[in-house]
Amino acid sequence: MNKFVGKVTIVEVLVWVLLIAVLLFTVTPIVFMMVASFMDAKQILAMPFSWIPSREYFTSADRTFFTNFHKAIMGNNDNPMFFRNLLNSLIVAITDSATTVILASLCGYGLAKFRFRGRHFIFLAIMSTMMIPFEAIMIPLYMVVSGMDMINTYRGMIIPFMVSAFGVFQMRQYLLTFPSEYLDAARVDGVTEPGIYAKIVLPNSKPVIATLGILSFRNQWDNLLWPLLVAQSEAMKTVPQYITKFSEEKMTDEGAMMACAFLASIPMIILFFSLSRYFLGGAAVYESRKG
């Protein structure tokens, strides 16, 4: 009996040691980013590295702990382009997640609760687009968008990502289990079909909508490739582009680069810690069309 208890304890210790080691691996770089954004380049690359920002490394007297953030925002030419690009990222990500939710829920509802000719074919056709990776169609998509004269516009950045096949799939699966009696009862009461969608279907699919909206927001927030193609003027660029450009120009100013990365991460970090259950739920499903 004693032997058994001893064995369990060893296993438990091993489990905790491994879990904490992995925790250190995932969290350390993030903590590094946070502390380094308050440091001088000299301290960031000091040997050995000290984890507490210190004034003694500062090369100039007028430097403060927030100099990095100032540089990150003002860039090279004292022009707060960062805010403009942040705004662009927010506009694109918010519009895309809103439209994805609306269009996918409409389509999912239509496919789940109505019987019309061709619905199986439509569903299969939409599902088959999940097999087309964005990276394989970006060149023709670029030609489509430039043919519509939407290069360097919000429309060009937003419209190609307004729907997601995975979103349609998720909404359909969710609504299949929704009791049709509620819908029929509303019909008997004389509620119109769009009214049923807005007043009954939408309010009752909140969990899927939240997961879907967050997934779409995150994908667009992280999107670098498509803005690289369509957003060409400085004023139209997004945050990932800003960071890429910043790292090119300020390669030797590591502190400013980390401040820039930190600032760019704040919206997602806030969103993550306040809505983590939707993130972790959304992770359990396959995001096939990440782009």
């Binding site: 019309f116 056709a125 990276e135 489509v144 670098l224 890429t244 680069m257 993550f272």
Partner: protein, 307 residues
């Protein structure tokens, strides 16, 4: 009576179609048309600036598979992509399976939730932020060399994380691994949680040790999840772009990490060779189609599993 309900159904069916049409139009314009267009463009010599477009047959395909494309041949891109994919997803699957199994050993849900949250945090940061952080950690005077020197018991050795072509490839794998490990841990936890606890109880009653239970019960029952997650990880790795692009912009050499997506971007957008880039896109599409086909086969068989 029969006639009336029939007309109500027809009226309803009309609404079903109305609800699905907006989505369908989008998919037609932004998914089906582009992939067909990519196929057609891949047989032309279309260029971005000249705006000429003539049919050239398989010339682009012959070109991308035989010529060196200005020093960055497709063969190298396929090599870089496959090395990155294999080097990332195999360690990722093994590590996330082990971590998920260990997490399931925790007695309190509260602790498990905390670890999941912390493991997932890197996935929330954007890929460029991840690359930016690691570029500084991989600096010759940076944290990674200090840690490596400490672990390897050397002093002052520069491991050339972003310079040496082998190390550069390992660095991209490490960044990707770091970013997505939490995501795959959660996928495995979902799979593990779906195994009924009665099976474990029966095993404990029969006197099976934890080690034995893991090998004889957990792993076989987790096989469908493992297969599905591996293919998913593979597909994700095949599409990698941001990490490699960011490191290249940061001053690393392009050749060792010139993955297919990066080659498409440079050939099509930077050099304006839309025909050649489209041919590369079709190659990428076919590679991913094969993997998706395998995934569908495996997912279907996983649904047949009964406990």
């Amino acid at each position: 009576m029969g006639r009336k309900s029939y007309s109500i159904e027809r009226k309803q069916a009309k609404w079903g179609l109305i609800f699905t049409i907006p989505c369908l139009v989008f998919f037609a314009v932004f998914s089906f048309y582009p992939i067909i267009n990519a196929l057609l463009t891949s047989f032309t010599n279309r260029r971005a600036i000249a705006r000429t477009s003539e049919f050239v047959g398989f010339e682009n395909y012959v070109y991308i598979f035989t010529k060196d494309n200005g020093g960055f041949p497709l063969s190298n891109s396929i090599r870089a992509t496959l090395i990155f994919t294999i080097g990332t997803f195999i360690p990722m699957i093994i590590a996330s399976l082990i971590i998920a199994t260990f997490l399931m050993q925790l007695r309190k849900d509260k602790y498990r939730g905390f670890f999941q949250l912390m493991y997932y945090t890197p996935a929330v940061l954007s890929s460029v932020v991840a690359a930016a952080i690691w570029m500084i950690i991989f600096d010759p005077r940076g944290l990674m060399n200090q840690i490596s020197n400490f672990v390897m018991r050397t002093s002052g050795v520069d491991y050339n994380w972003l310079v040496d072509s082998t190390m550069l490839q390992i660095s991209t794998m490490m960044i990707y691994f770091w970013k997505y490990i939490g995501y795959f841990v959660i996928l495995f936890i979902t799979g593990l949680a779906s195994i009924p606890s009665t099976i474990y109880e029966a095993a404990t009653v029969d006197g099976s040790s934890r080690w034995h239970t893991f090998w004889k019960i957990t792993l076989p029952l987790l096989k469908p999840t493992t297969a599905m997650v591996s293919i998913m990880a593979m597909l994700q790795c095949l599409k990698t772009f941001s990490t490699q692009y960011m490191l290249y912009q940061g001053g690393s050499s392009r050749f060792p990490i010139d993955v297919i997506t990066m080659n498409i971007y440079f050939t099509g957008i930077r050099n304006g060779r839309l025909g050649r880039a489209s041919a590369m896109s079709i190659v990428l599409f076919l590679i991913m189609l094969i993997f998706t086909y395998i995934q569908l086969r495996l997912t279907r068989s996983s649904e047949d599993v009964e406990y």
